[in-house]
Subunit: 404 residues, 2 copies
């Protein structure tokens, strides 16, 4: 049985990670299929089979249906009785919808997968993004009352909360406080921001303030994982990049990066002490796209993400914290308790590295990892601070360091 996940208590401000309630470490490897729960039974079965064979142990999904490019089919069932022609009866819930939602969450639990449930989102043609306040409140209360008993539920207040322009900031403050008050099991809780690089690159002032102590982690959309160390310091809680761009070829900038880059984003994020969420946006004749509908995983990044997960999970607990770059600004360097490290060069191609970033008087066993080819090549000699380490001089290389 899959254990209930909750944030590990912070220790001396050093740890910003997750663990099981029994204290064992837990590393989120998340994917995104916003409305897989609204698809046909066949597609849902594909989704669950894909997840079962994947490295993912968490999935982001919405309660409400989604109106967006590639996602214009009309659902057959909604959280409230009614339909888009006749309108919805906000005084009642469609219990059959929630029964199905529970079944879906239960199936995820059976696969050991956390359900990061998105409570509100802006992509809407039905009106669910601008219901009366009283309905929003009743909806939240109902969700929490029905679903808090699931061990694998997480609360995500919103996807891109700042695009829900009719809801003022105090709405989110109150909603977060309400969930914290009404959820007897204190499930993980977060809120996710819009990110449009041309607008938001120079400033994150539009974010909800993740300092709110009710938020268990910072759920961030951003395309540049360089900032993970800053966000860890700022919020002093785990950082999950719950959208950084998706592998695929759709016409929208967030959904057409290469598999190489998707894998690189995972490695950068993890080495810098954060976690990263996957998504796939491959155009498909059947118009089933993983990021929205679920279905079948088609990309080349998934198996490399599995490889990274395995590196983290084998052996002792990893609590990676970023090593300051110093002169090594081509390298995302994570170190766990000064005993185990993962350094990643991304698309930089050093032919060697002077290992000046290692602590003095320490001796290390080093493996050179090709994160794309998924090979691990031990370095023959022991490595000390300042030693010259020969490297392949090509992209997607990492180092695993184990202290001797």
């Amino acid at each position: 049985m899959h254990a209930f996940i909750r944030q590990r208590p912070r220790s001396s401000g050093r740890e910003r990670h997750f663990c099981h309630t029994n204290g064992e470490p837990w590393y989120p490897f998340d994917t995104t299929a916003y409305v897989w729960n609204y698809q046909s039974e066949a597609v849902q079965a594909d989704t669950l089979a894909s997840l079962a064979a994947s490295p993912f142990n968490k999935i982001r999904k919405c309660v409400f249906p989604k109106h967006y490019h590639y996602n214009l089919a009309e659902p057959v069932r909604f959280p409230f009785p009614g339909n888009i022609e006749t309108g919805f009866d906000y005084t009642r819930f469609d219990v059959s919808f929630f029964a199905e939602l529970e079944q879906q969450i239960d199936r995820l639990a059976g696969l050991g997968i956390e359900a990061d449930l998105i409570i509100f989102h802006p992509y809407d043609r039905w009106g669910f993004s601008r219901m009366p306040l009283e309905v929003d409140q009743r909806y939240i209360r109902y969700l929490v009352a029905r679903l808090a008993s699931f061990k694998n539920i997480w609360w995500s207040l919103a996807n891109e909360f700042d695009l829900l322009k009719e809801k003022p900031m105090h709405f989110w403050d109150a909603a977060i406080a309400r969930i914290q008050r009404e959820d007897p099991s204190n499930h993980l809780i977060s809120i996710h921001n819009w990110h449009n690089p041309p607008i938001h690159y120079p400033s994150n002032a539009h974010w909800y303030d993740h300092h709110n102590t009710a938020l268990t982690h910072a759920s961030i959309q951003h395309h540049d994982l360089h900032f993970v160390p800053e966000w860890r310091e700022t919020f002093n809680k785990p950082v999950v990049i719950d959208e950084c761009c998706y592998e695929g070829n759709v016409d929208l900038g967030w959904g057409n990066i290469t598999a190489q880059k998707m894998v690189a984003l995972f490695w950068h994020g993890v080495c810098l002490g954060g976690y990263v969420t996957h998504g796939e946006t491959w155009l498909s004749d059947d118009e089933i796209i993983w990021w929205s509908h679920g279905g079948k995983l088609k990309g080349e990044s998934v198996k490399r993400i599995a490889f990274l997960r395995q590196l983290l999970e084998e052996g002792a607990a990893k609590r990676l914290a970023p090593v300051p770059w110093g002169s090594h600004w081509d390298t995302s360097m994570g170190m766990s308790d000064e005993r185990w490290g993962l350094f990643y060069f991304g698309d930089h191609c050093p032919g060697y590295k002077m290992m000046t970033m290692l602590p003095p008087d320490s001796v290390w066993k080093v493996d050179i990892i090709d994160t794309w080819e998924m090979t691990i090549t031990p370095v023959a000699q022991e490595i000390r601070q300042g030693d010259k380490l020969e490297l392949p001089g090509k992209p997607w290389i990492a180092l695993r360091l184990q202290r001797l």
Copy 2:
């Protein structure tokens, strides 16, 4: 004979480009070989032969020798009489050094190459970066008096001026004013900043203020060309990214990007209305590295940069200005007079694009350019605003648009 280059007068604040004094457009395609002028005759001959066969029409080079990784050999001649053991006589100049410098500048002129002369820089073991103020002033006066008659000279006050920590900001203000006052030919003049991403990514507050009207263009070191439109707007003058990282495999983050990324930086910069400077840092058994010593060009980016230069130079003058991203944030879009455009997708891989960024009621001939393979594939149909354009869905693709 190569024409004297000077900045084209700004027109309605729209143009931030360069042209010849006769008004013809001129597009800088710059490279970097900081101290090629200090190398052996054989290496200098290689450098000039490499430049002659290259697309580069401008080179960044230092007056003073350089003390830096991969660059520790002792020069035989200096701007001042003396050597590192006995010290230097700052009351006199070594006229043979300057005669050689003039000859080098003249040889560049013969190849149609601008000499962007770096007057000060921080990488120093001889003391030239911290001479008495009076010596600095005399040195500048001497340089300008001797070299202003060269048609192809540009003044770069410094490479990474902010690392010359003993020189206060008013030193630079005064030096720029002095050059402007004493150069009868008003050569192009700029000043270049240090850029260490972990420190400087969130802020450019350490830059010299390129608003200074004596500066003819903003000479910027930065790794992210996304900001070129902002810098053009801010400074209202041409923007040249005189360091964005170099193709190669040295152990330093700025010097180990792939050829693909070097080419991508050129395309992004040019499409966004700026210009970009090349460099190569390939480790070499003979310890001759282009970025510092000159010698032979070895990289894979040069011929792709030549291809881009050809696209700009053929046909009518190009005055690319960035098209606001809107929803197309995977695309660096430059448009010249609403008649000719160059759009670049970089490492994004859209399988198609809805051409919503085109002006209404305009009709375009479009070519799909593979910037790496250097192929140009005409699109059969005419393209109008909002049309769907099928694309290869792989990295390094650009579009050339010509209005019909």
